[in-house]
């Protein structure tokens, strides 16, 4: 497994764990107050900080085991994979974003709009790393 595939696995898992952490809290708060939880800036900041720390820690750990690969730039096949994954993940980002807009237009729930847009951003990132893994596994 190449260094970039390992980093894609690490980032996908970190982002999935982060999304579960964030939305678990949002659902619990929503249940407790009986309506959609408002945007909780503290929770968003906590999410971002946890993701950044976990990502940096994972990258350092992977780099320690493969210092030469970590130092090397992406080769032509890897660059093509990164480009394709980024392109496809744009669609994954767009679909829930449109869903969020539709939901807001119908229900006028601004709090839900915030959470759905945040979810779309998370899904877009998770999809990008997932596509990278699929393409690395498939060959190109």
């Amino acid at each position: 497994m190449s260094f970039r595939e390992k980093t894609a696995w690490a980032m996908a898992l970190i982002l999935i764990a982060g999304a579960i952490f964030y939305f678990d809290k949002v659902v619990r708060i929503t249940d407790a107050i009986g309506r959609t939880a408002p945007p909780i800036i503290g929770l968003v900041i906590a999410y971002v900080v946890v993701i950044v720390i976990a990502s940096v820690t994972a990258m350092i750990a992977l780099s320690v085991f493969s210092p030469r690969e970590a130092d090397a730039p992406a080769d032509e096949r890897e660059e093509r994979i990164l480009d394709k994954a980024g392109h496809w993940s744009g669609y994954v980002l767009a679909v829930p974003l449109l869903g969020a807009l539709w939901h807001f237009a119908v229900n006028g729930d601004g709090n839900m709009l915030f959470h759905l847009i945040f979810l779309a951003l998370m899904l877009g990132q998770i999809a990008e790393y997932t596509f990278q893994i699929i393409l690395f596994r498939r060959g190109a």
């Binding site: 190449s2 595939e5 080769d75 032509e76 890897e78 498939r138 060959g139 190109a140």
Partner: protein
């Protein structure tokens, strides 16, 4: 499943005739990862023209001795 590119290659055979040379050594020589050499050998990835020339130069031969075309003829 993606359709494999219509390009064949003799990289594995040439590596075995030259040493044998490892996939890692060839990857290092042309500046790609070992996984890219594996993908090229398995016909899952078509290298760029530059990499094709670099591979041929490593084996001191021409590109057409390394790569072949098995798709329909052009035009």
């Amino acid at each position: 499943m993606a359709k494999p590119p219509p390009i064949t290659n003799r990289i594995r055979e040439l590596r075995e005739q030259n040493g044998p040379m490892s996939q890692a050594a060839l990857a290092e020589a042309i500046g790609v990862t070992r996984q890219t050499i594996i993908a090229i050998e398995l016909g899952k990835y078509s290298p760029s023209l530059e990499s094709a020339f670099r591979i041929a130069r490593v084996f001191e031969t021409d590109v057409e001795s390394v790569f072949g075309w098995q798709g329909p003829p052009a035009g």
